[in-house]
């Protein structure tokens, strides 16, 4: 990709997503992820109306007057975008590919994070680690992240979620909020997710395309598996074939969803060609509601 074109693209994404981030999601993002890290700030004299539960009894005893502990939210949040760049992400039948959707989504998340003075990092992977951008602050950094998302040509083709999470655990020692953006076309990542979840706040963003669930009726369809290169010839004229495909794909997706639900992993399903704003907004609201409990 020639640089001017890339710059234009980055610019366009910046405009579109930063607007989204500031106008629609900023507040929700803020509240959805606040309160996780609460930092002690100071001890100050009790004033009527303060929560009695906040009284610091040690200081009160020493001083003879009631004092309360004042906390403040830890706003130095770190957001890691763990992005799947495998071959299957090049698929997309509805206006955009999955990779394009992912890029927009990540840009939105990154801008949302920057608005809240958070650090943003990027870990792109395929069947190997493609790119690691350590978390930093600032618009310039976000733009760099977007550039990597747009322009990076993955060297691998497959998907190794477990490997990526393993690497992530090693480079990101401090607690952070991690968005795992993938289509989860891999096996054996369940254990890795559980390990990561012990320390980090993990949100799984499941990117799909409607054609993964529903074959078009176009006669014979010669498909190449984007990752394995395997060729498959399907007769999509046959209703039986299309139905069986839908059943199988739905079952695969359900199994994943079921596992995540059982392990209480935040899962955000997205589809190409659909606006992710509302889904994201709803997801944030849900999270916010859970936080307040």
């Amino acid at each position: 990709m020639i640089p001017t074109e890339l710059l234009k693209k980055i610019r366009r994404i910046e405009i579109a997503t930063s607007r989204l981030a500031s106008e629609l999601l900023a507040g929700q993002y803020h509240s959805a992820f606040k309160g996780r890290g609460i930092e002690f700030e100071e001890v100050r004299p009790y004033q009527p109306g303060d929560d009695v539960r906040a009284i610091d009894w040690n200081v009160t005893a020493r001083a003879g007057d009631p004092y309360i502990k004042q906390f403040r939210e830890e706003r130095e949040l770190t957001v890691m975008l763990i992005v799947d760049m495998s071959g299957s992400q090049g698929f997309g039948t509805n206006e955009q590919t999955k990779r394009e959707l992912i890029t927009e989504l990540c840009a939105t998340l990154a801008f949302s994070a920057i608005r809240n003075n958070d650090k943003v990092g990027l870990l792109a992977f395929t069947d190997r680690i493609e790119k690691f951008v350590p978390p930093r602050k600032g618009t310039q950094h976000v733009l760099r992240v977007i550039r990597e998302l747009l322009a990076h040509e993955p060297t691998g083709n497959g998907t190794d979620i477990a490997g990526a999470l393993e690497y992530f655990r090693h480079v990101q020692r401090r607690r952070c909020t991690a968005f795992l953006v993938s289509d989860f076309q891999d096996d054996g990542w369940e254990q890795a997710i559980r390990v990561v979840r012990r320390k980090h706040d993990l949100v799984a963003i499941d990117v799909g395309d409607r054609r993964e669930f529903e074959l078009p009726e176009v006669g014979l369809l010669e498909m190449r598996d984007a990752e394995s290169g395997e060729l498959v010839l399907l007769d999509t004229t046959s209703r039986a074939v299309r139905d069986a495909w839908t059943t199988q794909a739905t079952a695969d997706s359900e199994r994943r969803l079921g596992w995540m639900r059982r392990h209480r992993i935040d899962r955000l399903p997205l589809q190409t060609g659909e606006s992710f704003v509302e889904t994201l907004s709803a997801f944030f609201r849900r999270r916010e509601a859970r936080m307040e409990h």
Binding site: D209, L234, T237
Partner: protein, 363 residues
Amino acid sequence: MLSFHPDMLWWLLLLIPMIPLAWWRFARRSARPAVPWSTTAAARTVPHGWAARTRWVLPGLRTLAIVMLVILMVGPIKGDEQTSKSVEGVAIELVIDRSGSMQALDLTLNGRQVDRLEVVKAVAADFVLGEAELPGREHDLIGLITFGTYADSICPMTLDYTTLAEALVQVRPATEAEGANTAIGDALALAASRLNDLEDRTDLNTDDIRSRIVILLTDGADTASEIDPVAAADMAAALGIKVYTIGVGRQGLVPMPMKDAFGRTHIQQVRSDLDETTLQAIAEATGGRFFRAQNTKSLAAIYAEIDALEKTEVAEERFFHYTDLAVTPVTLGGVHLPPLLIFPMLVLLLEIVLATTRYRTIP
């Protein structure tokens, strides 16, 4: 007859590139265009559909059409063999004595005692038509002249041996009224004349006549000729005609049916006088041979010998009229075939129709 143009067979070499082509299609399967799909894992459990399983029909039809086209290029032909025999025949004039002496009953035919003429007729017919040791003649112009006191042309030179044989059967011994003497010289002269003006009287291509011969068969001595037999022989020799002479019958006394004054038939012993010297002279003068036939068997042997001496030369040229089946409609064994080229075309059409309808493949 179905075959191929023999000098077009090397076109079959075109079939050889089909092998790497097929290999390439098979081995480089992954190079084929396909729609990239995020995952085809579901296809492991999903049925592919019958059209997908029978997709090979399309390359199969294409291959079939190519093979058929190559074979048609080699050119299946139906050869109608046309044999044009360039035959050099022999013009043979059979000259048969039917004088009174031919009634002599000194020969047997099939164990029956019959007169000489019957025997001669039977053997001559066999000579023409073929029977037993005699192979029969083919492509030869044969004419028949009989003679008693007067020589008559019974059958002109012809290839129609059936007619000739019929004429032969009709030959009867000459009655006294017809003239029962023996005019060898006249008969020979007539035969020579007939053979000589063959060109004028027939529309046959006389270039094809290799030689002209006379087979003169008699049982006596010349008694009534206006032309001396030896002079006639010299004339024949001058015209390039060969004369084979056959003397029939035993020498000496032979039984002869004779009618008396009351019309009754008696068998009398009559002296048979064969003029061997003259016959020999005739044969020698013309480059022929003289034969002596004492009985039916030896007569047949003589004819066989003449038959062998006068071999017809046949130069056979075989022509094939080829019908190129690829482009010409033809009837084979009662089946009307359209030009064969239509079949690979139909196969190709079928392939195209299938490929654009039920077997339409994306991409």
